[in-house]
């Protein structure tokens, strides 16, 4: 294998795949990146077996070939070189050499025979949409996933494809985030549910491109993003029936400035119990108050909120961290929070939805003891 390439191009390709390389692995070959030079492109591939990412950059190929190279050493070298032309070659013993004006560097690569192959996607169909919209949908759902391996289904994000709707749903059992998009092209005819690991989605959200193609198979999902393809295993789990728990008739409504209410929550929760982060929301037509009390520490905090409230008087407790995380994902000037009673889920929404999108978050209350 022999090709020449600019440092900038190679660096860009490397940075796209390197984050998938596992830090620790029992399979040493996964610590390498696979290089394959053919048809005018260098294909770079990294995998941790769950998520694989492959990208291509244009290079001037003198001799096609393939091997795997130690990711850390190689990427550190390229990162620290100036933007100059590089000549990269390997010999039959998989010794890799990088030559440039600065000097010659040699390192030991390995045969790509042992490198895991990319999964085959037995496509059910694909969905094409604006990549920036997908990226936003991912950002506004992944914050709510569970980190607990005891319920694997909740560690991923649910992708739901309907006729007219494409939904992403995440929950950890205490709160839920749902993003709906209605502008997409799909060849998937039947209603489809797949759970995608969060790690894959953070990689997808990184790519700044225009259009993304989502291909769904039996066990894997593939995101085609221009020169880059990301493959991910699908979590073989049953997602809980979240629609059943979304309350339909939350008749009490709080409307407030998003930043103002978030700041108030932040200040008051300083005085909440540091573990439970419990705050109390006392709402009536006349006034809305947020308060917190840490019995152990003897601290209290209280603020009156400038906000609009419609409905009967209500006192409700929340874990302020859960509410704050939801508020941080509201992009509009004003936020709308709907309640039913002190033991049912509160609905948090932006005051107006982006065109062709719908955002909704649920937070379960904490029971007030009095």
């Amino acid at each position: 294998m022999k090709f020449s390439v600019s440092q900038a191009d190679l660096s860009k390709g490397l940075s796209r795949v390197i984050s998938v390389v596992p830090a620790k692995t029992t399979l040493p070959v996964l610590g390498n990146i696979m290089f394959k030079a053919q048809d005018g492109f260098l294909h770079l591939t990294a995998t941790d077996l769950d998520v694989s990412i492959t990208t291509k950059i244009q290079v001037d190929i003198k001799q096609p070939g393939s091997l795997t190279v130690p990711s850390k050493q190689f990427s550190e070298l390229i990162k620290n070189l100036p933007n100059i032309p590089l000549e990269i070659s390997s010999d039959p013993q998989f010794k890799l050499s990088v030559k440039c004006d600065k000097g010659d560097y040699r390192m030991s690569g390995e045969s790509d025979d042992d490198y895991p192959a990319l999964p085959m996607i037995d496509e059910k169909g694909s969905l094409k949409m604006d990549a920036k919209v997908l990226s936003r949908m991912i950002g506004k759902t992944t914050f709510a996933v569970s980190s607990d391996q005891l319920r694997p289904a909740l560690t991923g994000v649910l992708f739901q494809i309907f006729d007219k709707e494409f939904r992403l749903v995440a929950t950890d059992g205490h709160r839920l985030a749902k993003m709906v998009c209605s502008k997409f092209e799909s060849t998937i005819k039947e209603k489809t549910n797949v759970i995608v690991p969060t790690k894959a989605l953070t990689e997808v959200a990184k790519d700044i491109i225009d259009v993304v193609n989502i291909n769904i198979g039996q066990n894997h999902i593939r995101f085609d993003m221009g020169d880059t393809q990301l493959y991910s295993r699908i979590l073989d789990e049953t997602y809980p029936d979240y629609e059943r728990v979304i309350p339909a008739n939350n008749d009490k409504k709080l409307t407030a400035d998003t930043h103002m209410v978030a700041d108030a929550f932040k200040r008051v929760s300083i005085f909440a119990n540091p573990i439970t982060h419990q705050i109390r929301l006392a709402m009536s037509k006349k006034s809305i108050a947020i308060s917190a009390e840490d019995i152990d520490g003897g601290n209290t905090g209280m603020e009156k909120l400038q906000a609009e409230y419609e409905g009967e008087d209500l006192q409700i407790g929340y874990n302020s961290q859960l509410v704050l995380a939801a508020l941080n994902n509201v992009d509009t000037q004003e936020v709308v929070i709907q309640f039913k009673n002190s033991t049912s889920a509160g609905i948090i929404m932006p005051s107006s939805q982006v065109e062709n999108e719908n955002q909704m978050m649920l937070v379960m209350p904490v029971r007030l003891n009095d």
Binding site: S146, S147, D148, L150, R151, L154, T171, D172, G173, H174, R175, L176, P240, Y242, V245, N273, P274, I275, T276, Q278, I295, D296, G297, G317, N319, T343, S344, A345, L362, M364, P365, V366, R367, L368, N369
Partner: protein, 599 residues
């Protein structure tokens, strides 16, 4: 001819001797007591053949004049009391006037004594309880008692004696106790012409280090408290080191080594489960009490003492021990921190923190004072006292919530990191502290659970997806049994059919997602523990804390670690987990310096 005869005095003395003089060690005890009563500050004990051959006690006390020297061997001859009223107030060891008569009836005794006033000393030789010779001889001030051929005329008793080594061990153990109680007296012991030890005059801590051992003493807490006319001071092993000590217990009342079950029970109860089951704490405790508050005259060797108000004694001891444990730094150290003698501060508890050398004065809980006074004036109901004796646990909590002053233990700075997702390491003033994350959280949750049962129920986080759980009939009945308690822990559980429940809410401070597991494992743990006769609340608190706590292997963020540390030090017993394992170990800079051979 009448079959009932009055025994001769000689026979009577021999019988009495069986009570007072059980073995050579008893002779040593009686003689040392006399020496101390005589105001000696140097006592030399010489023993041969484990005391069977020779016991000699030489002191530099006040001595006796020639008349007394002869009289002292008579039964009921004593210089220490003269009337019944005196007996009520007696502070000296001896007072019955029995010891010498008893000893001399079963051995050959030679008494050599001289007072400061007399110019020559008196020598009295006794054989079989009768004076065989009285002479005068120049001698040093003080008294020398030589006891030979013990039990020569009581072969049965002599045959019961153990080997020389065993008898000698009993003797050393007797001397050890006196040495602890009288640090200002020099004790020297010879056995078979070999000097075994010489304990020079010292202060209490120094003497204890010599007698008990430096290593054990460095793992002790200092105790010094005065209450209800009883002054208690001494040293207790830190709970986490109970296994390192041999579990020796020494109790002294006004300088007299005694055994008292109430005190032992109070101390064990105060340790509670801060020490592993079966382990015994080490303690040396000195009680000072007014003579009219107790009776020494219940046991021939005066080893047992009867207190007028044993319940009051229990309370005093329990709180004294409990308070010192909850406030002192009990962090096991890899090095041996120096033991500083605390400055006795009346009615206050003063103690040393090895980690920060400032004495914290903890006012005793007002509840404790009032409950004590209540019982004094007889206003406290019988029930209260009885309940207290059954469940000291309850009282303890009441007391401790009243210790309003926050505990300043170790100031763990914000510099923390996690080792192998298992231990939290943090820099502290004196070096570094290593915290076991699981047991630390377990301790926090345990105390929170107990608190939840008592007063502040834990908040319940409502679940988005209520969990339906099915149990076996047996487990379900256990669950029903503790359902009200579980609800105070923050679970909201609805029964649904005969063996099914729906969990609607879980404790707010339990990590997300574990609900089902925690509940199932709690039932299992509860079952296992219930065989051990635990109080159901305590059992549930233990099961809950063990199963809900973060596990070894759970990664923690810096914030989580800091919060864990803060909460840990807000606990009443931050140093040992509910099962008795240590939570924190510290490694001092000094130790590190030593390892790196800097010092």
């Amino acid at each position: 001819m009448p079959t009932i005869k009055i025994l001769s005095e000689n026979v009577a003395n021999k019988i009495a001797a069986g009570e007072v003089v059980e073995r050579p060690a008893s002779v040593v005890k009686e003689l040392i007591e006399n020496s101390i009563d005589a105001g000696s500050d140097e006592i030399v004990i010489t023993v041969k053949s484990g005391g069977k051959g020779l016991i000699q006690v030489i002191d530099n006390g006040c001595g006796m004049n020639s008349d007394d020297a002869v009289l002292c061997f008579e039964r009921h001859a004593t210089s220490k009391i003269s009337s019944w009223e005196d007996l009520q107030r007696v502070r000296s060891f001896g007072f019955r006037g029995e010891a010498l008569a008893s000893i001399s009836s079963v051995s050959d005794v030679e008494l050599k004594t001289k007072t400061t006033i007399e110019e020559v000393g008196t020598i009295v030789r006794m054989h079989a309880g009768n004076i065989s010779e009285v002479t005068k001889e120049a001698s040093l001030q003080g008294t020398t008692m030589t006891v030979k051929n013990l039990f020569y005329n009581v072969p049965a008793r002599r045959n019961f004696l153990k080997t020389n080594n065993t008898e000698f061990r009993h003797i050393t153990s007797v001397i050890k106790k006196f040495a602890m109680a009288y640090p200002a007296v020099e004790f020297t012991l010879f056995h078979e012409d070999e000097k075994i030890f010489q304990l020079r005059k010292a202060d209490l801590p120094a003497r204890l280090e010599k007698v008990i051992g430096k290593d054990i003493m460095s793992y002790t807490l200092t105790l010094d408290v005065e209450q209800f006319g009883t002054h208690v001071k001494g040293y207790l092993s830190k709970p986490s080191f109970s296994y390192k000590t041999k579990g020796e217990q020494y109790l002294f009342l006004n300088g007299r080594p005694i055994v008292n079950r109430t005190v032992n029970f109070a101390v064990f109860s105060a340790y509670g489960h801060s020490i592993p089951k079966g382990d015994k704490p080490f303690f040396v405790l000195f009680l000072e009490s007014k003579p009219e508050d107790f009776d020494v005259n219940v046991h021939p060797a005066k080893a047992e003492v009867k207190f007028k108000d044993e319940q009051l004694l229990y309370r005093t001891m329990f709180h004294a021990v409990r308070d010192s444990m909850s406030t002192d730094s009990m962090i096991p150290s890899l090095t041996r921190p120096p033991v500083n003698e605390s400055d006795p501060e009346k009615t206050n508890l003063s103690l040393d923190l090895h980690t920060q050398k400032e004495s914290l004065r903890m006012p005793l809980g007002s509840g404790m004072q009032s409950s004590g006074q209540g019982s004094d004036s007889g206003t406290q109901s019988e029930d209260d006292v009885a309940r207290f004796f059954e469940t000291p646990e309850e009282e303890k909590r009441a007391i401790q919530t009243q210790l309003t002053q926050p505990k300043q233990a170790v100031n763990l700075s914000s510099l923390v990191w996690q080792l192998h997702n298992r231990y939290i390491i943090s820099q502290i003033k004196s070096g570094l502290a290593i915290i076991d994350q699981h047991v630390a959280h377990e301790r926090i949750l345990y105390e929170r659970a107990l608190d939840a049962f008592e007063k502040n129920p834990i908040f319940s986080q409502q679940l988005l997806f209520p969990q339906t759980l099915e149990f076996s009939a047996e487990d379900f009945s256990i669950l029903e049994e503790f359902l009200p308690l579980v609800e105070r822990l923050g679970f909201v559980i609805k029964k649904f059919g005969k063996r099914t429940v729906v969990v609607e809410a879980v404790p707010a401070d339990v990590r997300l997602g574990n609900e089902q597991k925690i509940l199932t494992e709690m039932i299992n743990e509860y079952k296992i523990n219930s065989y051990n006769d635990l109080d159901p609340r305590d059992n549930l608190a233990k099961s809950f804390s063990c199963k809900s706590a973060i596990k070894s292997g759970d990664p923690l963020t810096v914030d989580e670690m800091n919060s864990l540390i803060d909460q840990l030090f807000a606990c009443k017993f931050p140093y040992v987990c509910p099962h008795g394992r240590p939570i924190i170990i510290q490694l001092s800079l000094e130790e590190l310096d030593k390892r790196f051979m800097r010092i």
